[in-house]
């Protein structure tokens, strides 16, 4: 089995290029299947599963099944089979092997890893138009495939939206303000867990949501998302400028 151990220099090098990598099952016979311990997000080798930022500093990876789960379903990778023989390895080994293999497949060559959405079947999927308005008021319009979160979409399009926990609903740095109330109302209600994180979001408004929890769907075409403007008075716990 190749790449099960990783030299630290390699890890560093991958990180320099590292970002979301697409894992295309079976394409080069390296990754056969991913199983996630989150029961609502199970992946098998017939699906294209996405592993974001498995940069090796945490055993935690966010997994998203592009063809089944419409939302981020974070979970631990509980086991991964690798290689033609389909051996099962420990989650951390998986991450190490991922780092190790990166040298074999430097970014930019499609050897099972690709760094753009275009390389996946998603490219053909239905897309909606979303506009991000940054802190200085500058607008960027992007096309977002249905099923993708706004956090991911922002990152795929080089839009600066923070995502400290990478979509695991544990940080609130991906806070966005939906500028059109009508479209805000078309979103599913935030869960208690999302509201718990919104409690701590900086610059909370009546139409605030977490970018990692807003998932593109056809009704949301034309969505406009503003990043909260930086002010010199930032909120501390329990103090938010405006009640929700």
């Amino acid at each position: 089995m190749r790449g099960l151990r990783v030299a630290t220099g390699l890890a560093a090098r991958l990180l320099q290029h590292g970002r979301v990598a697409e894992l295309r099952t079976g394409s080069v016979g390296i990754f056969r299947s991913l199983v996630c311990n989150n029961p609502s997000a199970t992946y098998d080798s017939s699906l294209n599963s996405r592993v974001s930022d498995t940069c090796g500093f945490s055993s935690r990876v966010s997994i998203q099944g592009s063809s089944c789960a419409p939302r981020h379903e974070p979970g631990f990778v509980s086991n991964v089979s690798l290689g033609a023989s389909g051996e099962i390895v420990e989650p951390n080994k998986f991450i190490l092997s991922y780092l190790g293999s990166s040298q074999l497949f430097p970014p930019g060559r499609s050897n099972g890893f690709s760094t753009s959405a275009a390389a996946t079947p998603e490219a053909d999927a239905e897309k909606i138009s979303v506009t991000f308005v940054n802190k200085d008021g500058e607008e960027t319009e992007i096309k977002v495939p249905v099923g993708m979160s706004m956090l991911e979409a922002a990152h795929e399009n080089d839009i600066e939206l923070e995502g400290a926990c990478e979509g695991s609903l544990a940080c609130s740095t991906c806070h966005v303000i939906i500028t059109d109330e009508e479209l805000y109302n078309k979103l599913p209600e935030p869960t208690d867990e999302e509201n718990d994180m919104l409690d701590l979001a900086f610059g909370l408004t009546e139409t605030s949501r977490l970018g990692c929890q807003v998932i593109a769907k056809p009704e949301l075409d034309g969505l406009r998302l503003a990043l909260p403007a930086a002010t010199r008075n930032f909120a501390v716990d329990g103090h938010v400028p405006k009640p929700h």
Partner: protein, 529 residues
């Protein structure tokens, strides 16, 4: 060799003295003009560089002290804002990430994912990590200021607020910080040995998120904890723990509880744990209602506490049942000792009522009525406190560095002038509150101040040639025989931790001994890339 940086440092110092005198009048125009360098692209940066990146010929030399969230967010922003800046991040530990490693609870792996982002910053070719270097002992603030254009202090809060009540120093009384460092494998608290045996009750003073973290670790099943990166020595002791009941004491009411809904919801969901709130504590005054109206977060926390008070969980039989009791309106008055005076036996609490002027936070005022709770372990979770270092202005009352938008002030007096080129960020700047993301907004503010000062010539070092930066620091540390842990070295330690962890089914097993970390760091890698 060492002479070179010293000579240059003297130059910087003189230039600084000059600039500081003249700065008020804005006499200095920046000598380094903005020039388009063109084509300088960051290979590490997976998001676009901010369009507002400043390009200047000199290449600003920046030193960030402390590699927690505040330090890393600052480094990231400096690298984005100054296209040719070089940032060195120092930390007193061989391992980076501050409280993300040694504070965030082991059962919150998702919170630690942010270290991915920090690692991407660290491996940038314009960023270097200097682990195992302590500001104040290995290198002085004065020296750093001579070596760099800009020094940003982000060394957090590594001490504790004092209660100021009798018995605080008894055996069995610990600061929550020590307990947290112990279960998170921080090298400074490996030998804490909290007494988890002599009683089934622990009292945690304070009701913030740290208090909830401590309670959760004491009450959660060790089978669950065993799958986390909790330190092995802590897991071993917790397996033997007799503690089944934790009392969380707050001096104010449920509307003022400092914890957040996420943490509270989590602990209320733990299997086999009943969370109890006394119904009599839930009454609301008009002032409470006003406070809730003004704070969504406090309102939601209160609602959860009401839910906890109402839930009738089955009474647990046998030793399996565990309990978390919230006690409100009680101020710690004394920590009581055992008959032989050797150790803690309980706490004496004074009942309180809330008072306050309109639009001001309500304060707890003692009623002169007391009650006692017996216990074998007391954790003081009333807040962290920063530590001063020689040569730095420090506000001892608030426990932070006085500053104006991140610029370190010369004195705590209002209207004080600031020290050119010296900045502060994170808990050291604002005091020990706020989540990881708060430090992002905070770093924004400090870095904007750096940009402003750079633009107006107020950094004080711009009139002379490029400062020694990394190279100078390295020479200085080598001269002092201090072994620097680089980010590559840390990656070796990390790989070793992951390997140790996988033997036990843990994401990682933290190495707790500095010497061991250093020896792994200095091992020559058998694999060449």
């Amino acid at each position: 060799m060492a002479r070179t940086w010293r000579a240059r440092a003297m130059q910087v110092q003189m230039a600084r003295a000059l600039t500081t005198c003249l700065f008020g009048a804005r006499v200095f125009a920046p000598r380094n003009s903005f020039t388009a360098t063109g084509g300088e692209v960051l290979s590490w940066n997976w998001r676009s560089l901010s369009t507002s990146a400043l390009q200047h010929t000199g290449g600003l030399q920046v030193c960030v002290v402390g590699s927690g969230p505040a330090g890393f967010y600052t480094a990231e922003k400096v690298l984005k804002r100054f296209e040719r800046a070089k940032v060195d991040i120092l930390d007193r530990l061989p391992t980076p990430f501050g409280l993300v490693r040694s504070g965030v609870a082991p059962d919150h792996p998702e919170t630690k994912v942010v270290t991915n982002q920090f690692s991407r910053v660290a491996v940038s070719d314009r960023c270097s990590y200097f682990g195992n270097v302590t500001l104040g002992t290995d290198v002085s603030l004065e020296e750093l200021r001579m070596l760099y254009d800009v020094v940003v202090l982000a060394y957090g809060a590594e001490s504790d607020r004092k209660l100021g009540v009798p018995g605080e120093e008894l055996v069995g009384v610990h600061a929550a910080r020590e307990f947290v460092w112990w279960y998170n494998g921080h090298p400074d608290q490996v030998n804490l040995q909290p007494d988890l045996q002599s009683s089934d009750t622990a009292v945690v003073l304070g009701q913030g998120n740290v208090a909830l973290d401590c309670a959760r670790i004491l009450l959660r099943s060790t089978e669950e904890l065993a799958t986390t990166d909790i330190a092995e020595h802590a897991l071993v002791q917790l397996r033997e723990s007799r503690i089944r009941r934790v009392v969380l004491v707050g001096r104010r009411g449920p509307v003022q509880a400092a914890c957040t809904a996420k943490e509270l919801r989590e602990i209320m969901g733990i299997k086999g744990l009943s969370v109890k709130v006394r119904a009599c504590d839930l009454a609301l005054s008009p002032a409470d209602l006003e406070e809730m109206k003004a704070s969504r977060s406090h309102k939601r926390v209160y609602e959860l506490l009401v839910k906890a008070a109402g839930s009738k969980l089955p009474v647990h039989n046998g030793s399996g049942g565990r309990e978390l009791l919230f006690v409100f309106y009680r101020n710690p008055a004394e920590i009581l000792s055992s008959d032989d005076g050797a150790r803690v036996a309980g706490v004496k609490l004074e009942k309180t009522v809330l008072q306050g002027e309109k639009d001001k936070p309500q304060r707890a005022v003692g009623t002169g009525e007391f009650e006692e709770v017996s216990c074998g372990l007391v954790l003081k979770s009333i807040g962290y406190k920063s530590i001063p270092i020689p040569g730095l202005t420090f506000d001892h009352r608030q426990g932070l560095v006085p500053n104006s938008k991140g610029r370190v002030l010369r004195s705590v007096e209002e209207g004080s002038s600031f020290v050119a080129g010296l900045f502060v960020v994170g808990w050291l700047k604002r005091g020990p509150t706020g989540i990881i993301g708060t430090n992002l907004i905070d770093a924004d503010e400090t870095v904007e101040s750096i940009v402003e000062d750079w633009t107006s010539g107020g950094l004080g070092s711009q009139s002379s040639s490029c400062p020694p930066g990394s190279r100078g620091l390295q020479e200085l540390l080598e001269e002092r025989c201090i072994s620097i842990v680089t980010f590559d070295d840390w990656l070796k330690i990390h790989s070793a931790e992951v390997a140790l962890g996988s033997e036990k089914g843990k994401p990682q097993e933290k190495i707790i001994c500095r010497e061991e970390m250093l020896s792994i760091a200095k091992q020559v890698s058998s694999q060449t890339p």
